[in-house]
């Protein structure tokens, strides 16, 4: 086990709404989780459950018509939602970086790869000269296993393969040695053999520079191999969180159990695959009950009328499900939370 490190990120009851002409989409319905230094937390869940919105909200990148309506994002004790925009801009890229799924969409097509990596350095450290920044960028590319790094640094994004582009992206985001890296599906657009390469270099580099990682992925296999802890999201809230071993081997929330059973690995071909019945509910109504209750085989009366709190099953393993009622609840939030305009 790792030494328990101090708290780096504390997301408390985060709510995000998107206001359209007629309706309000409640994308995040009270997301809470904590991330310690040097820890890798996986955020799992299906399309539309709010994984990416959570990442964007932490960086305050939710644009109109979306807005963060409630909650706190404490980064090293400071509430990011209360920072001024210039302070926030200073933080992004230097303290918290984010890798997106589609590397080619995130790279500037008319700037050479190496220059884009160097640019990140120059923005956050004015004392650097262009030359040293470039040298450090090339060094970074080499440490990510890019063959012939000086030549690759001179290429434009369209000349790179998907795997190379993602390496450039990772170099760009880690060259400033951020304390927190948010990786949103970093390998989902890549082939398996390239995915394996990227995961290896990413893991090595993360260890080297001691970055905490929030890894968003729908691939539970990738999660099993990379993360220390896993948080499972469903319709805008975290339904189960705990050490990766516990959550994947002994899941306690019916949704997590269902999700793991739907994966066709090691299912005999003559057996039908398990599938969770029904559909993901719409996010148009703020929740008044357990969002999974309509699809849950073990739902009881209480599940349909009340939102389950998070129960503590054991140290660090929390499950938001009434099946575990009677267990201690996760302590009431320490500070009163204020509504945000």
């Amino acid at each position: 086990m790792r030494v328990v490190d101090e708290l780096l990120l504390d997301v408390r009851d985060l709510k995000v709404e998107f206001h359209t002409l007629h309706v309000v989409v409640h994308a995040l319905q009270g997301v809470s989780f904590q991330l310690r230094r040097r820890e890798t937390l996986g955020l799992a869940g299906e399309t539309g459950c709010g994984k990416s919105v959570t990442a964007l909200a932490i960086l305050r990148l939710i644009n109109r018509p979306g807005r963060i309506s409630h909650g706190q994002v404490l980064f090293e004790g400071r509430d990011l939602l209360a920072l001024s925009e210039p302070d926030m801009r200073e933080l992004r890229g230097s303290q918290i970086s984010m890798i997106m799924q589609e590397p080619k969409m995130s790279l500037n097509p008319v700037i050479r790869a190496g220059d884009q990596v160097a640019e990140t350095l120059l923005i956050h450290d004015r004392s650097l000269t262009r030359r040293t920044a470039k040298a450090r960028a090339v060094e970074m590319l080499a440490s990510l296993g890019i063959p012939d790094a000086p030549r690759m640094a001179g290429r434009y994004p369209h000349e790179l393969s998907g795997g190379m582009a993602q390496r450039i992206m990772i170099a760009m985001m880690l060259v400033t040695r951020p304390k927190l890296l948010i990786a949103d599906e970093p390998t989902s657009a890549l082939d398996v053999t390239i995915q394996a390469q990227i995961l290896e270099v990413m893991k090595a580099l993360i260890r080297e520079i001691n970055t905490a990682v929030l890894l968003i992925t729908h691939d539970l296999g990738v999660m099993a191999e990379t993360c220390d802890r896993v948080a499972v999201m469903y319709t805008g809230s975290v339904v189960e969180i705990g050490p990766v071993r516990v959550v994947l081997k002994n899941p306690q929330h019916p949704y997590t159990q269902g999700l793991l059973k739907t994966i066709p690995n090691n299912v005999a071909p003559d057996q039908p695959l398990f599938s969770i019945r029904g559909q993901v509910p719409s996010l148009l109504q703020p929740p008044t009950a357990c969002a999974f209750a309509p699809r849950c085989d073990r739902a009881e009366e209480r599940c349909r009328v009340e939102i389950p709190p998070r129960y503590v099953l054991e140290e660090g393993h929390h499950v938001a499900c009434f099946l575990h009622q009677g267990r201690p609840e996760v302590g009431a939030l320490p500070e009163p939370l204020t509504e945000r305009g």
Partner: protein
């Protein structure tokens, strides 16, 4: 077992030494023409009622192979025979009949459905085109088919954008199956879907195959899905089939080094037993003017001199006559477990 029955069956689809090349022009004034050798001598047979899985990474030619079967890719040499008849270069009525009997399901149900047509028009268009039904018969057959894929009357007059990814893939399936095809080419049918929706669609595909006695060419990069769906598998690399065999045989006793790497790259769901991942150096070479010799030679962990000079044939290497492998130095030992 059903194996015996299949052995006796005529091949429904037979591909013989197929080559598909695309010409690329570099610039407006250059004479030099590069050639993308997308498929470079692929042979395979599908028996009626069988599911053949085709796996490989982006650019290996698996999609092109599927498209060549329905006449959407230019065949340079080789033959594709469907139910005993060649389907290369068909035109007119014969091409239309082929289009009815071989249906293609695309990966992305968000772009394969016309956004301004209702489900009734989308699913019924083929019936109209092939003259299989008219007027209210179209509605009847469309509705029947929709019910077969788990949709219903209240979906009939809705537009594609009103549906989720899984439902759209059901519409695409209904559109294909309403024409009573014999062969379905499924090109990554669940890659754009979430796992829980993927499970529903895979179950539906199995059910439909039983119900309509379909044959599937199942193209995917997801080994777990292919293993669950297919009876036989072909592994493609750079326009070649490098290994093919019965699913379990191939998974338990992979012979080709590339197959072994692919299998080892499958992430393990058990944090206590991480997969013993073989990380390959480098990336697949481009299929533009590939070097002679074995296509995998540039990344192969077991490469020797001969691999760079001589292309290995696809043939039996181990004890199993249906298990073919194209490698000079296949690994034939028994599985460790």
């Amino acid at each position: 077992m059903a194996d015996e029955k299949r052995e006796n069956g005529q091949p429904l689809l037979e591909i013989a030494d197929l080559r598909v090349h695309f010409a690329l022009r570099e610039g407006v004034f250059t004479r030099r023409r590069d050639v993308v050798q997308a498929i470079n001598g692929v042979s395979l047979r599908l028996r009626r009622g069988e599911v053949f899985g085709l796996v490989g990474e982006s650019g290996c030619g698996k999609t092109t192979l599927g498209r060549a079967v329905v006449g959407l890719a230019p065949v340079l040499t080789g033959d594709i025979r469907f139910a005993g008849q060649t389907v290369v270069g068909l035109t007119g009525r014969a091409a239309r009949e082929r289009a009815r009997r071989i249906q293609l399901i695309f990966q992305d149900p968000y772009s394969s459905l016309h956004p301004r047509k209702t489900v009734r028009d989308l699913v019924g268009a083929g019936l109209k085109f092939h003259g299989l039904a008219q007027g209210y018969e179209i509605d009847e057959q469309v509705l029947l088919m929709l019910e077969g894929v788990g949709l219903g009357l209240d979906h009939l007059y809705r537009y594609a954008h009103e549906f989720s990814g899984g439902q759209r893939q059901r519409i695409a399936l209904a559109r294909a199956l309403v024409l009573k095809p014999e062969l379905l080419i499924l090109d990554e049918p669940t890659s754009a879907l979430d796992v829980s929706v993927q499970a529903q669609i895979l179950n539906l595909l199995k059910e439909l195959r039983r119900q309509f006695q379909l044959t599937y060419l199942f193209i995917s990069h997801n080994l777990g899905v292919v293993r669950y769906m297919s009876q036989r598998i072909g592994v493609m690399y750079l326009g070649h089939i490098v290994e093919t065999g019965a699913t379990e045989d191939l998974f338990l006793r992979p012979q080709h080094p590339y197959t072994r790497v692919l299998l080892s790259a499958l992430p393990s769901l058990d944090p206590d037993a991480p997969s013993k991942r073989q990380v390959l150096a480098g990336e697949p070479p481009t299929p533009i003017n590939p070097p002679p010799g074995c296509p995998f030679a540039s990344r192969c962990p077991d490469v020797r001199d001969i691999c760079h000079q001589q292309k290995p044939d696809l043939g039996q290497r181990g004890g199993e006559p249906t298990h073919l492998c194209a490698c000079h130095f296949p690994r034939l030992e028994q599985p460790a477990k």
